[in-house]
Symmetry: C2
Subunit: 375 residues, 2 copies
Amino acid sequence: MSEEIHPGLEDVVAAETQISFLDAEHEQIVVRGYDLIELARSSTYADVAHLLLFDHVPSEEERAAFARQLGDHAHLPEGVADILRRLPSDTVAMDALRSGLSILAGFENAEVLADHSREANLAKAVRILAKSPTLAANAYRALHGQPFVQPNPGLSFAANFLQMIYGRPADAETIAVFDRIMICYADHELANSTFAARIVASTFADIYGAIVAATAALKGPLHGGANEAAARMFAEIASRGGPAAAEPYLLERLAAKDRIMGFGHRVYMHRPDPRADLLKADLDAIAARDPDAAAMVQTYEIVVAVMEREKGLHPNADLPIGLILSLVGIPIDLFTPIFLCARNAGLLAHVIEQHEHNRLYRPRVVYTGPRDRRL
Amino acid sequence: MSEEIHPGLEDVVAAETQISFLDAEHEQIVVRGYDLIELARSSTYADVAHLLLFDHVPSEEERAAFARQLGDHAHLPEGVADILRRLPSDTVAMDALRSGLSILAGFENAEVLADHSREANLAKAVRILAKSPTLAANAYRALHGQPFVQPNPGLSFAANFLQMIYGRPADAETIAVFDRIMICYADHELANSTFAARIVASTFADIYGAIVAATAALKGPLHGGANEAAARMFAEIASRGGPAAAEPYLLERLAAKDRIMGFGHRVYMHRPDPRADLLKADLDAIAARDPDAAAMVQTYEIVVAVMEREKGLHPNADLPIGLILSLVGIPIDLFTPIFLCARNAGLLAHVIEQHEHNRLYRPRVVYTGPRDRRL
């Protein structure tokens, strides 16, 4: 054993994968061989999920069959709604999603649950993918005393998810940008939550347990919570007067050595996140349609310019996503659950890959505590 | 980034810690500077938990105060029992514990939940430590339609846990060996579940989420599930006729290239696990008291001898623990939940340490999939 410590395992290769790769040098996010940005421009979330799970973009026939499967499995089993309504109302929405996913495991047949073959895992993956938006939206509804909204299997994945969030149909522009956000979030190599899922899966724990662990990880403010933090920052700047308040606000926080979420990334370092560039165009489109939103987008531009000037940092995907989700009226507590539902496609693919090529994760420590203490 | 792959992160140092260390060279498990085997011989689980959380063995006054705290917090919040009773009866007991721990987070004040200071984390850790046995025992009871058993704060940690499992007071010998098993399981350096907890904590996700992830990891047959697998093996050998059936059974499984759980360990390699040696004495004591158990212990000895002869492997802690828990009449589905409740002390200490000296875990991959696919 080498005594060299790798804090945060930075630059340590912890897995071999055929699923995705951050090619920081070429500023490309590779997903199953495709450029994620091309997928986000020209595909749908369901197609990308199919690509991640089955390693190919669906044919027209496969697309229809996959949509049917997702629709068939979107309903929650009887009893789950009842449990969600019994959670204490202080429960964080992301924790309710975590509990719900954990509980769903009990609705699988015990043998199916313990079967880690590719076939059994794919069947469970489709069920988890299909049910998660229903769970996320309705857990939030339960915590807020709102009526449940059943999934509508006739809608696209994004349209159905938005309808369950809003309690009414979403417009075409919002569906399109939400779908694009879900694609941007679909997979991102060995992000912390994906790593957590693979570690849990490496004990041959089942795919539900691995996704529950990923949900726990994604909640953290240094990970999935970043889009919430970005949205709260934009709300704070707006409450201080809008675009003119952006620079003083940021300089104040930077002087206090606060960490500004939505900027920089361990892997991209000082290069731009291509997802942020893509989604800036969506922000511009929203600004063109809505004068109130235009001021927020102006704030966004100032924030980006100041952070580049002061810290040399570029926005990552969480910055535009936090703002877009706010502007389309989604409750902030749902941002991280939405991230999880989108990342599910990648997470599930990684768990399946881990089970197929398994080696138990069990690293070592450097011990710096006392020795030879006696009772 | 180096392209060197570390499958399972074997021999990679992933954390600096003052909590515990497997000194394989000296065959010693170091816990906060003490030899775990000395602790198991001369201490109690509550003392070891105090040591892990507060870095010192309690004084008499601290011991009484800690016992009072654990007793005060052992009750489940109102509503949890009701949720446990609504879980589908096919739910695996370990998954019910995972769901229950996830749900408990919602009973914390939201600000306390998000507070990762040492003080706030320690307060939550004591609550998790105290409530987990109540949750584990009563989740099992709920799944089997048995009446709930309330915790008895007047009993020791082990005696109270056993009483909730059995539904009646346990005898002194069983309490003593159960307490020793809990100490043996209390911490074990960077085991997979501990690593999972630290990874989740490194996003500044809260301590509940980290423990939920650890629970998910511990369920796996390559990790916490090993004690169950060992117990099932002994039951199978007994059903084939007892000690005389042990060698043919093992040779048959080895010829089929089955993995025999309860033997070997990534870190110990071909050295003995000191916990297994310690607990063999408990098996001998049980055999001396009970002739039926004596045959099982004889089987144990044959299994150990055959595995050493055939594979050069020594038993790890899971082998004697699986057998002891069977012999004292604990349902097999509770073995891994018991492991989690015992490991809690270490897990909670590791999460607190991670939050205090944090660096986000975010390793890299080697990508072996296709490139340059186009829509």
